[in-house]
């Protein structure tokens, strides 16, 4: 059924496009993540940047997608009107993942890596804070803050901390949004939900017009 193909391909394009936007958002906001968080590739990047970006992008695009393919379904045959209405009904849409990560959604850093990296990140941040807290003239303080931000960014890139964040983001995109879902994952990726809805609707449509 052409409708199933086109709706599925459009859903794939939708989530892929949103993923690209989310990765751009991460790169734009990567300096705002605390270095200690970046070092551990923690949930902060996902919670504060990637997931809100995905929710905003997918929320808007999915709305258009549901409407467009409900219209296309109705256009195939007038007998499919009720099915098209049910397809576009907000209640049938899969819920967008919340910004707060559930246990199964968390990026699982190997335990042996976590201790030293936490320590390094905290040390650098503490040093930067100490400099800025000292009783020094504003110009010096500003300069110190600027330098400390630059150092943090440099360290973030050179130490691989930012890459760890990007990896955590990619892992999020793969597990929560794009799939394919690992068998043990409790939550199915959002795209899989959309494709399931398309498959189910296509099957019902075939039964109606058969």
């Amino acid at each position: 059924m052409v409708w199933r193909d086109e709706a599925s391909l459009a859903a794939m394009a939708l989530i892929h496009a949103a993923s690209a936007c989310a990765m751009q958002a991460l790169d734009g906001g990567i300096d705002t993540i605390a270095l200690s968080d970046a070092m551990t590739g923690s949930d902060a990047a996902i919670r504060d940047i990637v997931r809100p970006a995905m929710r905003a992008e997918v929320g808007t695009s999915a709305d258009d997608w549901f409407k467009a393919y409900a219209w296309a379904l109705r256009r195939i045959d007038s007998r499919l009107e009720t099915l098209a209405l049910s397809f576009v009904a907000v209640s049938s849409w899969p819920a967008l993942p919340q910004n707060e990560l559930t246990t199964v959604e968390r990026w699982s850093e190997p335990a042996w890596l976590r201790g030293p990296i936490d320590t390094i990140g905290s040390t650098i941040e503490r040093a930067a804070t100490e400099i800025s807290n000292r009783a020094v003239p504003n110009a010096v303080r500003e300069r110190a803050e600027h330098v400390s931000a630059r150092i943090a960014r440099e360290i973030g890139e050179r130490s691989g901390a930012h890459d760890r964040l990007r990896n955590a983001a990619r892992n999020e995109l793969s597990r929560v949004w794009l799939g394919p879902a690992p068998a043990e994952n409790a939550r199915r990726p959002y795209l899989t939900h959309l494709l399931d809805i398309v498959d189910r609707t296509a099957r019902q449509a075939m039964e109606i017009i058969a």
Partner: protein, 342 residues
Amino acid sequence: MIGELFLRQLPAALETGIRSGQLGVYGSTIRNVANGQIAGFLQETSGLSKIANLVGNGPAWPLKLIGAGIQIVQNEQIKSGLSAVQQGIAVLNQLQIANLALGAAGIGVSVIGFAVMSKKIDGVREDVRALDGKLDRLLDEFARDRTEKLDEMLDRLLGLAERIDTRWSMSVDKAEIGWHRDADEADSLGNFFSGRARRLLEARPTAIKEATPLLDASAMASGLRVGALAQSGETKAAINVARDDAGRLERLTGDIGAADLARAWMAAPEWRTVPGSNAAGDALMLATTEARAIAMTLRCREAAAVTRAAPLIALEAKGIPARDWLSAAREEQDAPILLLES
């Protein structure tokens, strides 16, 4: 009498209907898109060979038609206005069936003769070669067969096409006996090709590119079988065989859609990319484009199979022997397609 029944060009009403989208070509039928009612039947003719000769060989040779058409228009207009070949290409383009007519599936019952069949089989061989041994490896793995064997079977298919063609010059009695035998051999060849395709797709449901030469060869064998039966006067058997072969093809590829292929490819290790990267976007675009093209080919092949005998059924209802219709199609040297209005 038979000459009065068919048309060599598309009547204005059908042309307008197709252009407006009210009518659509589905295999060898022209249908009303809204209600599925058949407006006309199509049958390929020997006139296809002139067009085929213009566009050379290779797996993509039918695709060269539109370009060839433009070229001919330019050259011929300078010389002597519209030629018969040019008009033929125009008809194929109006109906948007150039690829179908010159591809493996064909339009209606196969009567195109040895020359065009030879080109079609060359196209299948090119497709096998283009896979660079991949089909060979898969057949080794899943079907315990090798490409060399496939090549032999394609030779047999070519020989069969030649024999079926030659029998038109024999006495009716001799030809009928021969065509019966040919139908049996076409059955055996069709079983070979579709059996390999089935085993391949069962083992690797997404290996559709690799299965394509096998499916094409199977479609050609089916076309020859239906043609041989119809030519020998066994119209009912031809209709039944066409229906059975269409059912077999539908079971093989009917559930494979563009989305299934794109999804499977994107999940395959060789297509895997970094989520959210430009490479992932490019991969999805490529997968979508290729999957759409392949799905279109699958649907065209299925449509050709399921409507292959449709003109024969219509002729039978009018009391006209199928062989007369096929003989007219075979003798037609200019128009690539004959049209029978319903």
